[in-house]
Amino acid sequence: MSPSPRIRKIGILLFWLAVWQIAALLIDNSIVFVGPYPVLCAFRNLLPTPGFWLSVGSSFGKISLGFLAAFFCGLAAGSLAHRFALLREFLEPIIRLMKSVPVASFVILALIWIGSANLAVFISFLVVFPILYVNTIAGLENTDQKLLEMARVFSVSPAGRLRCIYLPALLPYLISGCRIALGMSWKSGVAAEVIGVPSHTIGENLYMAKIYLGTADLLAWTIVIILVSTLFEKLFLLLLVKGVRLCFRFSW
């Protein structure tokens, strides 16, 4: 009999942890290759320090602020661009620029323009905005034309069209767009912090780990980033779906 999927998953995880541990024992150099146990210790040492929570809170706040601002701006700009073809043509080069310019170039520019304090807000906005913009347009273009004809025949109000036709068409695109954008905002936000080194941020701590060759700290912080970004992703998507469902149910 084959074991249940959950047991199999845990087994696979333990296997790779063991591979990691054995490799660390063989290499036997805590700078080049650190084993799982020192990482766990570094993680445990970090948790009770106030500096840790301050850094996590500050980076989380800035990256989420950039993300949320870009979410709403991308949604609004995408909707307007779908409605007005000329605006879409006007925005096209800007969106292309945002998508193709490397994050590192934007970071240097942002350091010159706004300094390092709000760097992560700016960078996470820049990365998320085009993703949301493109997905909003794709969702709106995918709206069922037959339902729009129905709405025309029955003279459905604009609010009714938005709630019953556009929003359901948009939702799957918003969800998949947000999935990508959330991961990207964290990766690029932290990368920007490593370059700009604003004080009390995750990026600054990664930079310090680099200077002191603290590989265990580096990996501990990496785990923190993965945990926090996953948590934020789950929470945001839950709120998004719940919010839209509430909008569906709201009787007028």
């Binding site: 004809e149 025949v153 569906f248």
Partner: protein
């Protein structure tokens, strides 16, 4: 409602090289039920789409002089319902402020089981969706209703129910029902129209298969 006429003059439509029909003439009176018959692909749906303003004819014109502020509604060939919403939501979307949710629920109850009214349409059967689409067209304020094969997918009993409901709710409005079913004409008390110039062959006249 004051009686009015729908007059179609010399209407023609083609898709590229392919003519759908040429020089269609028809005069329809409000307060009547017309059963539009004709083979598949002859252009019944196209005629409805032109009358609803969703497509432009290539030539000719039609005039509809209803009382101001009321137009045509339709049962489309497809259900065209908002799948994530309940039957009540769907009807409410079309009727606007003219009926309350309670009134809509009361009307839908006559065609659908009570428990189905608060479920999303996506969970309903094909026949249930069809009945929601029929109720929506009849309950929305209008002076005429175009129904494109409205009773497809309904079993004998619900078909009977739906036809009774259509007759009752039609009021003094103009009703045009495209159908392939001979018995619908009698059941609706309708007038048969075959404006597309092709003789209609009732299914009963097709020769029986030779016995082997």
């Amino acid at each position: 409602m004051l009686p009015f006429q729908l007059v179609i003059r010399n209407l023609s439509k083609s898709y590229g090289e392919l003519p759908v029909w040429d020089g269609l003439n028809l005069t329809l009176d409000s307060g009547q039920v017309y059963c539009l018959m004709g083979a598949s692909g002859i252009g019944k749906t196209t005629l409805f789409r032109i009358l609803l303003g969703l497509e432009k004819p290539d030539g000719g014109s039609f005039s509809l002089k209803p009382p101001p502020g009321c137009g045509l509604t339709a049962v489309f060939q497809e259900d065209r319902l908002c799948e994530a919403f309940t039957p009540i939501d769907n009807v409410k979307l079309a009727v606007g402020k003219s009926l309350s949710r309670r009134q809509i629920a009361g009307e839908l109850c006559r065609l659908l089981p009570q428990e189905s009214l608060s479920r999303p349409v996506s969970t309903l059967s094909g026949g249930m969706k069809r009945r929601v689409a029929i109720a929506r067209a009849l309950l929305a304020p209008s002076c005429g209703i175009l129904m494109d094969e409205p009773f497809t997918g309904l079993d004998e009993q619900t078909r009977h129910l739906a036809i009774g409901y259509v007759k009752e709710k039609a009021g003094g409005r103009l009703l045009v029902v495209a159908t392939h079913q001979e018995e619908d004409i009698e059941a609706l008390g309708g007038i048969l129209i075959c404006p597309f110039g092709q003789a209609h062959v009732p299914s009963s006249q097709t020769p029986p298969l030779p016995r082997t």
